[in-house]
Point group: C2
Chain length 200, copies 2
């Protein structure tokens, strides 16, 4: 019997994507769900909504709350959390590299390393050298991964993932979509999404 699948749409700049990315592997394994990691960009989706940056920057009271809430969420999960500066971090290159990794089998490990660097270690994930170091740390050749990340093929794949997310109703991150199209938004809906994926 094949395991049910769950599409996990995540954005490297997104705060709530961080605990989701760190936890989904273990939770999905326990639930018997195969996760498809889907790195995408929120920027174009926000732009289509008329927003030129994160809603957390546009609506200050909501932003203040989000920083406190993410701190509480990560505290409960024993995940280190520091507020990145600037926020949001530039995530384009990391997202392209993650698409290279999808082909080569190291995307999940790389993605978790990016989140840990960004929110745990306060590193600048828009910096090519930082990303090269993360690739080196997981045993991937940075020069070849970075070269592929800049190829037209990979750029097109990231654009396609973002367009697909938007077409399927994604408006924020993380978002989980079950095989039947049922959509769950937010780290706090992850367990519910996994339960939906396995229901008969």
């Amino acid at each position: 019997m094949t395991r049910p699948t769950l599409d996990f749409f995540f954005e490297f700049a997104s705060t709530y994507s961080y605990p989701a990315a760190m936890r989904i592997g273990a939770l999905a394994g326990a639930a018997g769900v195969a996760v498809r990691w889907r790195p995408f960009l929120l920027g174009p989706i926000f732009k289509a909504q008329g927003l030129d940056t994160s809603p957390f920057n546009i609506f200050p009271a909501k932003g203040r709350y989000m920083w406190r809430d993410v701190e509480r969420v990560c505290g409960r999960l024993d995940l280190p959390f520091h507020r990145p500066d600037p926020f949001p971090q530039p995530s384009l290159l990391a997202a392209r590299i993650a698409h290279v990794g999808l082909d080569e089998g190291w995307s999940e490990e790389f993605s978790r390393a990016v989140y840990t660097a960004e929110f745990g270690d306060r590193r600048a994930i828009g910096d090519e050298q930082v990303l090269a170091d993360l690739l080196y740390d997981i045993g991937v050749s940075a020069s070849s991964a970075l070269a592929r990340a800049r190829s037209d093929e990979i750029k097109a794949r990231l654009r396609a993932a973002t367009a697909e997310a938007q077409a399927r109703g994604v408006f924020g991150a993380p978002t989980f979509i079950c095989a039947d199209g049922e959509l769950f938004w937010g780290h706090d809906r992850m367990a519910e999404a996994l339960a939906w994926a396995v229901r008969r």
Copy 2:
């Protein structure tokens, strides 16, 4: 020993305030928390953020998701749920009446009746006759409650509650604020807010 208190800011037009209002009494009772029911209006707070209606109307993908998510939430809780038309429902008069009830001891019961009428029975909660019927059903004189609801005193109290909510960082509903100022937003943070309120 006095019980810890929790401020429960709710708006009658707010979808996620509905399950919160229906459940908070039982959950707070079990947790040993005294709830202060705080009816307020989101409209002026949205307006201060540059929004002229609910964000769920302004951002259609988010709105579509919200309707499905609230349906799932209410389904799990065995609460009937129908989408009000129009959305948001005009909530000004109901909120003023709820402030009258705060003085007279029937605000919680009235508030639950308004939510059930709006989301369970698809009734128009902006309609004075509907509100009069709800008051009658809970044994309150509609004519005197409605007269007081239109007094300058009650209007000022609702404005003050809204201004206080905004000053304390409220940007959506439901919002729970503990005595130490810790703020929790959303029906899905209600249990966490109650746990925070009783922690030592």
